[in-house]
Symmetry: C3
Subunit: 454 residues, 3 copies
């Protein structure tokens, strides 16, 4: 090989890896028109897209996703000669990714908006959290919560309801334009209610405009909504063996996606298919409100009613309302799916004992919540707290919420993922026990004060 050949080879390799060396020709004319302006006004997303698989391999560009096919969509509008929509929804993505969209539509997360705001109890809790308080002569009142606050709080992860308010003239770099005013936007919540009736936002994980599977697969992708004390999955993962391998090596490490979503191949054979319905591999719903139970049958959790008529999957005594929950057989099927992932690296004895520990953890944390509930009920009964004025507005009531929402949930996640360091002292068993003592001491205290008053 002489030097000129060598240089040509080098250039060819460079070109091969170049993000848009060869692709440009196949990009649609519509997209090229979009790019003409948007390379100037939003160069960042154009750059992200240019480096994306969409651009390099599939020639899927702006037009392919943003030009409205179903022109009855209420959020469709005229824009420089095209009928487009700002918000790309799972229905748009389904044109190329029908299986993923179909699976996701049955995912619990797709219902995250309605499951929150259409459950009376959760609504009350939301208002208590997001409301602005007003101190009054006796106690306080809570002002109603503005949409701006909700969008910036719970609905940031759960998703907003997107609604089109109309078009408005706006001054832009390219002159005056009619652009839509959209309620609930921006938002990439997993259960977003879209103008076309679809639920969710693929870009919640597949960050626009790279739509990178690599990014979506990182634990950091999940951490956006799973780091706070209510669902500290990412924090627990980080102190697990799996997380340690991931954080030190980045590659060849089991991630959230590996166990919960990805396809598993062994020696060239598919032993487990990829799923975007994450509960496929989950026998239990560890997130207990207030108790962990078998997984709900339907992703729409608003339909549940316990004997007391509350929209919950268990009685206050901890007994599950089985009619809404998957049965033992289905639990076994799902557990076996998860175990087949574990078995890539772990022997049966290892795996079995792991899940025995998790079962014990579910049992004991539920029991610790039962005891906290007993204390709460006794406080109401003894008249040292009041359940008539709301369930979430007194110290004892909120200690109760913290028992299951933070402590029991954290312990269960720590058991499930082997991140014990965050299951003991960081919102873990220490807190679960200490909180029982705190509630008990506080009630004793209020009782004595009541007696002294007489």
């Amino acid at each position: 090989m002489n030097i000129s050949n060598f240089i040509m080879l080098f250039l060819a390799i460079l070109l091969f890896f170049s993000p848009y060396g060869f692709a440009e020709g196949k990009i649609s004319k519509e997209t090229q028109t979009c790019l003409g302006c948007h390379e100037i006004v939003t160069p960042g997303i154009v750059k992200d897209w240019k480096n994306s698989t969409h651009s390099i391999k599939s020639y899927v560009g702006c037009a392919e996703c943003h030009i409205t096919k179903n022109t009855s969509r209420p959020d469709s509008y005229e824009h420089n000669g095209f009928r487009i929509h700002t918000i790309v929804t799972p229905y748009d993505c389904a044109r190329c990714h029908p299986e993923e969209a179909e699976q996701y539509s049955k995912n619990l997360m797709a219902y995250a908006y309605g499951n929150l705001v259409n459950n009376k109890l959760y609504r009350d809790l939301m208002n208590t959290i997001n409301g602005v308080y007003k101190i009054e002569k006796k106690g306080y009142s809570i002002k109603s919560v503005t949409p701006l606050t909700e969008e910036d709080s719970c609905l940031s992860c759960h998703g907003t309801r997107i609604e089109i308010e109309g078009l408005k003239n706006k001054e832009t770099y390219f002159g005056n334009m009619k652009l839509p005013v959209i309620k609930g936007w921006p938002n990439t919540g997993v259960g977003r209610i879209n103008p076309d009736g679809s639920k969710g936002s693929c870009s919640a994980c597949h960050t626009r405009h790279s739509f990178s599977t690599d990014i979506a697969r990182t634990p950091e992708s999940c951490s956006r909504c799973h780091k706070g004390p209510d669902v500290p999955a990412y924090k627990v993962y980080s102190v697990s063996k799996h997380g340690k391998i991931y954080h030190s090596r980045k590659q060849n490490a089991p991630t959230c996606a590996t166990c919960h979503i990805s396809q598993i191949n062994v020696n060239g054979q598919v032993i487990l298919k990829r799923t975007h319905q994450v509960s496929d591999r989950l026998p239990h719903r560890l997130f207990g409100v207030p108790y962990a139970t078998a997984h709900p049958k339907s992703p729409d959790t608003t339909i549940a009613r316990n004997k007391a008529g509350l929209p919950l999957f268990s009685e206050l005594t901890g007994q599950p309302v089985t009619e809404y929950l998957i049965d033992e057989n289905e639990q076994k099927v799902r557990l076996n799916r998860m175990k087949s992932v574990c078995s890539i690296c772990h022997a049966t004895s290892f795996i079995d004992r792991h899940f025995e520990r998790l079962d014990e953890s579910i049992k004991t944390t539920n029991e610790m919540t039962v005891q906290a509930t007993k204390l709460l009920l006794s406080a109401w009964e003894k008249g040292v707290a009041n359940n008539k004025d709301g369930l979430f507005n007194e110290t004892i009531e909120n200690l109760w919420v913290e028992q299951w929402l933070f402590y029991a949930n954290s312990v269960r996640l720590a058991s499930a993922m082997g991140g014990a360091d965050l299951g003991v002292f960081e919102n873990g068993r220490w807190n679960l026990s200490r909180n029982i003592q705190k509630m008990s001491d506080w009630i004793k205290f209020l009782e004595r004060q009541k007696k002294n008053r007489k």
Copy 2:
């Protein structure tokens, strides 16, 4: 190309990338003298420097920064035939980087030392935090705080006051030497008071002796002082969309520096200049003590006085003391600078609604602090707490501090950076509301006890 040519090319490429292959010749004789010993006694920093841009591209070495030009500096001393100083200050850096030093000198951070220790209220808070308590018959007293503790606590980030106590003989690897005894050293706090009168420490971000811009630009650089619950900027960033991209890709991600400091180019044109005066792009000071307000005009915040004579930018009612704060026009200028960064990737409707949410968040968190203040004032009024013996030494007073210092600040940062997961349950809105209940319950409780006593 024959094989020997190929090998030579290979070697040439190696040499080209070698950190000091060609550079050594241009390094000053003085620096070479320094290196002679320091390669033996502090090889780690020599290695860092050798791999630095200073060494490779600019031939700026030990001597260029540590040899004293202005020999009236009180920290200058004889060292093996050179007059040198240990602590390199912004004035030293300004010899090559005058613009950066000039900008930084007007940065709020440059005043971090004085703004803390010369504000009577903050001083009180510092003493309550750092003091050693002594339980006595009735309550407790607080022993005065040693410099060692302050250096190791607040002043670690805020900066110490560096003072030279004189020279002292020390045994070293190269025999006995006269070396300075320096009060407040080591320290790389952002508002360090240097012996030459300059403020701050460039190495706070540009870690010595690599002085790497790359390191300074990472979010982890900021996290050294912005991770605790008073300013959890790094934690919020980590669960934002921007942080997710950064943590999964490391490159091509918007970092703290991107939005707050870096120069922004679009299609080869500078649309925003780099700034080391970070408030240039900030209409508000989100860090509220106790209320978030428009940004102060002067980086010296000790000059503020509210109507009650307190060194604060707002009344206790929440009303801002406008004479010390930038006006609406200036706020708009700064907001537009920030928006121009956003516009690289986001459309106007996206950006506008984002900042509307932030405005709402500032309003509601301030209001929640107003309510907490009302409760505190009522506790003092009712005689169940005492404001005569200090403002920060009773449970109810510290619940009040946590309301603004931890919860309101966290919520505002979460809104500003789109990290809602840490704005709800992790020192967020949940805590903001629960704390009002706690304060209210606690006061009710103390009142009843007082009545019972009678």
Copy 3:
């Protein structure tokens, strides 16, 4: 060089870097037999091993570690014609790594199991934390803790006691097999009690089956057990200057291992040997239960008794029980080892002042614990709390535990590693002081109530 040579060179380079290109021939026949099945049933660990130094450079495979040499081991069993054991212990590793195993056997961590469960006080604390509570008419009782829970909580890091219960038929991919039932498994705790009498698990840090030194050296390796609020070493490190360099550059950064374990070379000379006995470089044990003291002489901490007969290294007054602790000379030797690491990058004045600050921090945090202890004792004395029914089951008692376990420990770690941001407001000095106020207010409150009752 003609093109075919070039291609061959390329292939040769590929082969050179291939994990098992040349090595396969040297892998033992026994290991090859193991691989025959395990590439099918546990392909993940086979892949990890194939990329490991064990596989590539040393030809140490399954058989070399899992085939039982000492056949009297109770956990040895027949498996497809081999006598093997599931759990590889430090005695197994010692065959090739005798020095490391010997050092580790004297490491405090090797005793982490016994030091916890054989200390009456710690046992009580464990039960209070892990027990399931039962609310009764007056107060509550605590049910005894199951092994499943302990394995999933404290013992996950401290290590379990491994015991063989016998063999059991299990259905596997390759038909029915007799496999051992192992109590306490899975576990990789640092103080695991192994069937062969050895202590610990090398894979706690050297994650199987890559056994990578690189992984073991990352701070994330330590973080598995050192992130919670009782020993937040990783969190503190992350906001230190060292952590900042590590997190932004990953390489050339001082890690936990660098300072505590690794060999230190300067200009080709070993100035400090590698150690697996981590206290070699530690004059103090910063982890105070309840007080920080000089390091214990013996890694078996159950032997300590203070004057009151409690298994602690200090009196409740804070005075150390010196007979069990290393003396000042030994402290100096260890401190100088650590300082020699610091001196790679830092000058004497820098280092000395750093350790002065740490000394002050030890002194003041111990003093803050003394004051909390005074409050606790006074509560018991005044009859507003009860030390007869357990030391860890009332609010005031647990506030006391948090004083030293979370706050004092966190502050000391923050001082030791220069991570001040987590030594102030995140379980730091703020909490240390606020907790004194809380305890004091709570006791005052209980006292008044008691008086009112009379």
